[in-house]
Symmetry: C2
Subunit: 373 residues, 2 copies
């Protein structure tokens, strides 16, 4: 695959390692750095495509593992693919299922061929191979497909890490060879745990495949914040300047700022929507537990610096009431705000890099969140 669109990445400016770019995909351009909301089962929990449009989302993530099991490929194809199925006309990235299968632990069995696993829904047996995972994602018509990878549980023995890297490369090669749809850009996933030499080897082997993008996998799985920051920065530096870099599973304000500073372009995380369901409001100066008694008569919006529809309309007092009364509108509104807050943060991040003011912006954001959050 050549670097023509879709999948073309244009780098506009860098400040240190931080990058301001544009990723061109089949369903439109994405300004980077960008945060991708997670729509596991073809739905960003509680929100409509229109909500996501309003928030300014240009790409969301869905999960191969979940969609494979339900509603399944035949249904998704019958309904015209994943975009049509979920009525989302912008970009979709699907993960490869590798991470979910990794989470199944006792229910899966790995070999060089692929991974055999049992559904968490009904115990039925399934096999993921590099080839069928690519075929599935292409059949869904997604804009970015992820290669099948092996994620190791930390802490890991060096031999386990090496084996995971070996298999991840083997599978990425087979994924690349299995491609048949130009509008779906295949990203490889760098593994290697906390071992820098393993990360170097993984990155080198994947970069040799000349893929349109690379993810940093195997982090945000329980390691320390220091390890996350150091390893994501280290890994990003191993990847080509002219390809987008996607750090999987990162989504707090502080982690996003640190990873952008380390040279990452794309992120996904369930954090903002999961927090939204649990009454945790993200703000630029830290998180709020909205059910806290302090907010019962607080007439301010969730975040006074936020321009989202929820902050323009509703008070903390009302949102506190919705959560206390277990009204389903509460999770919906807080999920919307949390995603809008992160989208606004990423816009400011992009503006700061573009303006060359990234370092001051970064330090101010970090100071704000660490003082309260």
């Amino acid at each position: 695959m050549t670097q023509s669109s879709p999948g073309r990445f244009t780098l506009h400016r860098t400040v240190g390692a931080a990058r301001r770019g544009t990723l061109s995909l089949a369903h439109g351009d994405i300004d980077t750095p960008a945060f991708m909301p997670v729509g596991t089962a073809a739905s960003v929990k509680g929100l409509t495509p229109r909500d996501l449009h309003e928030i300014g989302i240009r790409i969301l993530l869905a999960n191969t593992y979940h969609l494979w099991l339900r509603p399944g490929r035949a249904t998704l194809e019958a309904l015209g693919g994943l975009h049509a199925f979920m009525a989302w006309d912008r970009n979709i990235l699907t993960d490869s299922g590798g991470f979910q299968v990794f989470s199944l632990e006792a229910r899966r069995e790995l070999s060089d061929e692929g991974v055999r696993f049992r559904s968490h829904l009904d115990g039925s047996e399934h096999v993921f191979t590099p080839e069928n995972v690519v075929a599935f994602q292409e059949a869904l018509g997604v804009d970015v497909a992820m290669a099948l990878d092996v994620c190791v549980k930390l802490p890991a023995q060096p031999s386990e890490v090496d084996e995971a890297v070996r298999r991840t490369t083997l599978w990425a090669r087979r994924c690349a060879a299995a491609r048949s749809r130009a509008q779906t850009a295949l990203f490889g996933i760098v593994q290697g745990g906390l071992d820098r030499r393993a990360r170097e080897r993984s990155a080198r082997e994947l970069v040799a495949l000349d893929l349109p993008g690379y993810a940093i996998g195997g982090l945000s799985v329980g390691e320390s914040r220091e390890d996350l920051y150091a390893l994501s920065r280290f890994t990003a530096a191993l990847l080509p300047q002219d390809r987008p870099r996607y750090l999987m599973g990162v989504g707090t304000v502080r982690d996003l700022i640190a990873a952008v500073d380390g040279g990452v372009d794309m992120f996904d995380c369930v954090y903002p929507t999961r927090c939204g369901r649990n009454g945790r409001a993200l703000t630029r100066s830290g998180d709020l537990n909205i059910a806290n008694a302090a907010f019962t008569r607080d007439a301010r919006p969730l975040d006074e610096t936020c321009a989202c529809a929820v902050c323009a309309t509703h008070t903390r007092a009302y949102l506190a009431h919705l959560f206390r009364a277990r009204e389903m509108l509460g999770p919906r509104l807080l999920s919307y705000h949390n995603l809008a807050m992160l989208a606004a943060l990423m816009r400011d991040v992009r503006d700061a890099i573009a303006a060359g003011t990234w370092v001051a912006f970064r330090d101010a954001e970090v100071a704000r969140t660490t003082s309260i959050g």
Copy 2:
């Protein structure tokens, strides 16, 4: 209170007993017959004020009992009243709490003074009197307040029915005397169970108070459909032509059509939103259980005659998937559709009465729903 606005009702046309009118309230005019969505705890479950605007809702119902307990009068007043609290700029009708307290059964004690009850939330003791229930609703700034009433459980002894009617009249008089806010229109509630003489007495005594509107209470509590239709029609005919008539707790297509035909102008019911949460889609030709296997690959909208945002955007297959995957977007979308469907029904009802084609319209709607629903 005179019949000047707010609370003025204008009757435009009648076809038999069916009426096309306009009720002018402090937050705007309501075209009748109208269906009012229920926002028990200051939230129509899962939907925003903007959703309700889109659907064309001009008035919603909230519950005195629930708001009294949580968030309570002091909080609601501190936040600027119920409209400001829930960010709803059209009309609000609050029930009196009589019906909820009636449902508490073992937790309440009635006397002529009022009703003493224990909160279902924390067991705390409270007293509703005609005076404090009116004061509460006026403090919230609602557009229509309901008088405190006594609803009897069916079947009931004649003596119980008589006693309920006596107390309902006594309390309505005290409610009327307690009024202090012109922008809040007080409606009385006719009781009398299934006893026509008791209904006549209740209506006569309440009409003597010259209230701006009257509700038909004590129905939709488990009686047969025949009794519901006959008694609502019978009671409506006892009420003044120039005042709106509100049948409490009715919200299926068939019941709405029958009650409009009997001369009712306003309705409320949790049915459309409760169905929405449970995967039951209302359509003009009957209800669908969306989780049914038949819809898994059905690319049609919920109702092909529906112009709502959900039907314009999403397939039955996608909605079926959301419910099967227990995605919270499912209840939201189905609640939206169900309310939009009823709002469209009521628009068509109003148009048919205005055009003089009510009888044909009514018969066609009843034939459609009874053949499938």
